[in-house]
């Protein structure tokens, strides 16, 4: 059985993912040569160097400030900044990732709590439903890039700086999917489940704890996966207007000041790895929780 499962896993999961990765890398390398070639050819001509196609391929992949760095350049930059530098150094990618991760997690936690509180009040109170929902939706129509500096400046005026203002931008983004998902989840119980509660003459509190809340758990996890990814985006965006001191956002900003494209790309890849890891962990927690709640595999 184990051999079969392994082969099936290989066929069904590993092989499709692998082929897509190979295709992406192939296309990436082609574009590296293509996009970087004009600068490279210019420089050949200025230095009056004879060149052929193999020179071009080699040199376009080893520029210092390429338009598009080759994957192996990004990997080697990441290797250098993750493993070869002390993590307390301002050049360490781990240091910057930690800064971003901490405000992501803080913002996500506040956002989740806020989203759940809003959802509960909307479902349990008609006036809240009518008055809150339009504002919640309107809040998300404002581009976060426009409002992020305002939030930071205003909070600074109140003496708040550092982690919390950045985290609040993550909160601003992440409470929304949580609130919307939880409202749907809390309203998901079928009519017959509610009728059953009425036959017991159940209090609203009991209906909430024993019916609405358990019904909403799968919805909550689905929203949390969306929320954690955009919390990361929020944290990065929140780092841009703070003068780019630390964090992945700072790496992106300094990178773009000095045209350090390899640094920008490695920060981007790092952000993607962070997001992937966070969602993976959430998935794991969600699967265990739902399994304990008797959800069919």
């Amino acid at each position: 059985m184990s051999e079969n499962t392994f082969i099936n896993y290989f066929k069904n999961s590993f092989l499709p993912i692998l082929s897509i990765i190979i295709i992406i890398f192939a296309v990436w390398y082609i574009f590296t040569v293509y996009l970087n070639s004009s600068i490279q050819i210019d420089s050949y001509e200025r230095q009056k160097i004879d060149w052929d196609f193999s020179d071009l391929v080699r040199d376009t992949m080893s520029q210092k400030k390429p338009l598009l760095p080759a994957p192996h350049q990004i990997v080697s930059e990441m290797w250098k900044t993750i493993f070869m530098i002390k993590i307390t150094s301002k050049k360490s990618l781990i240091f910057h990732s930690y800064i971003t991760l901490s405000s992501t997690l803080l913002g996500f936690t506040i956002g989740t709590i806020l989203g759940i509180i809003l959802a509960v009040s909307i479902v349990e109170n008609k006036a809240m439903d009518a008055s809150l929902m339009p504002w919640i939706i309107a809040s998300q129509t404002i581009p976060i890039l426009a409002i992020a500096p305002m939030i930071i400046i205003i909070l600074n005026a109140f003496g708040l700086s550092g982690l919390l203002p950045k985290a609040l931008i993550s909160t601003y983004l992440s409470f929304f999917p949580i609130a919307v998902g939880m409202v749907k989840g809390l309203r998901s119980p079928e009519l017959s489940y509610l009728d059953l509660m009425h036959t017991y003459n159940s209090s609203r509190l009991n209906i909430f704890w024993k019916l609405r809340l358990p019904s909403s758990v799968p919805y909550l996890f689905a929203s949390m996966k969306v929320a954690i990814a955009i919390s990361l985006v929020g944290a990065i965006v929140g780092e841009l207007p703070t003068g780019a001191v630390a964090g992945l956002g700072a790496r992106l900003l300094t990178g773009s000041y000095f045209g350090l494209t390899i640094q920008i790309w490695s920060a981007l890849v790092m952000a993607a790895i962070l997001a992937g890891t966070l969602i993976f962990i959430l998935n794991f927690i969600s699967r265990i929780t739902l399994k304990r709640m008797g959800v069919q595999e």
């Binding site: 017959s192 059953l196 509660m197 017991y200 003459n201 009991n206 024993k210 019916l211 709640m293 008797g294």
Partner: protein, 259 residues
């Protein structure tokens, strides 16, 4: 003389819908005594489920008089006078069988140390001992329905309201559950109101059969079942069984139920 436990007088119930008012119950008068097993039979839309829901205070009659256990249905519900078994088992999927059966007990504030004994007792009544830890999806349809009956029995209400509980099950399972239900009724002495589509089921189980007809929903016949209380499954081949069935069929025909 037995005590009347449910009584309806000139009960009317009208559903107001956008294009037309639907008369779900028209002038329904009925008396159900303590300890009776009453079946409600009729085609879809005859109001049998609506009547059951009115008894349970899940629907409000438009006019007429309805008393349950000597009080209004609303008060009876508040006093937890009945257990209700729905057409779909309606077990909460995130609770295992034990916790599904203990749900009403938790809500009604039973003491923590009383609950295990009660759950064990009612699961034994429906022959589900040993399945406490299973989740609903791990059980067959018939077993789920039995668990749902156990849940309705757990708080020991005097009345059991059952809305086509075996409607979705195949005939073999249904026969078996009918036998068990009859046994259960005899041992617990409850009053049972049982909605069904099946003539043999109604005749086999009941002491009283209420034949209903649609448009408007009304009672066309009330048949006192003359079969002996001791009913093996084979009784369904007896002459008496067939003649009661015939009377039910005639009742349905007179209400134009076959048209």
């Amino acid at each position: 003389m037995k005590n009347s436990i449910i009584s309806a007088e000139k009960l009317n119930l009208i559903f107001e819908t956008a294009d037309d008012d639907v008369v779900a119950l028209k002038d329904v008068s009925l008396n159900i005594d303590e300890g009776e097993f009453v079946s409600f039979i009729g085609p879809s839309g005859c109001g049998k489920t609506t009547f059951l829901r009115a008894i349970a205070s899940l629907e409000k009659p438009t006019s007429g008089n309805l008393t349950v256990n000597g009080s209004s249905p609303e008060d009876a519900r508040k006093n937890r006078a009945y257990g209700y078994v729905f057409q779909a088992a309606g077990l909460y999927p995130w609770r295992n069988i034990y916790r599904n059966v203990s749900l009403p007990l938790e809500i009604m504030g039973y003491k923590k140390n009383e609950i295990p004994g009660i759950v064990e007792k009612v699961l034994k009544l429906v022959d589900l001992t040993g399945f406490e830890k299973k989740f609903p999806w791990q059980l067959s349809g018939g077993m789920q329905q039995r668990a749902s009956i156990a849940r309705a029995l757990s708080f020991d209400a005097d009345i059991l309201l059952m809305d086509e509980p075996f409607g979705a099950l195949d005939e073999i399972v249904r026969d078996h559950l009918n036998e068990q239900l009859l046994q259960l009724w005899k041992t617990t002495n409850k009053t049972i109101c049982f909605v069904t589509h099946s003539i043999p089921e109604a005749v086999y189980l009941s002491t009283k059969i209420v034949v209903m007809s649609p448009r408007p929903g009304r009672i066309v016949d009330v048949i006192e079942n003359t079969l002996p209380t001791d009913r093996p499954l084979e009784i369904r081949d007896s002459k008496e069984f067939i003649s009661v069935s015939q009377r039910v069929r005639e009742g349905l025909r007179s209400g134009h139920s076959y048209e």
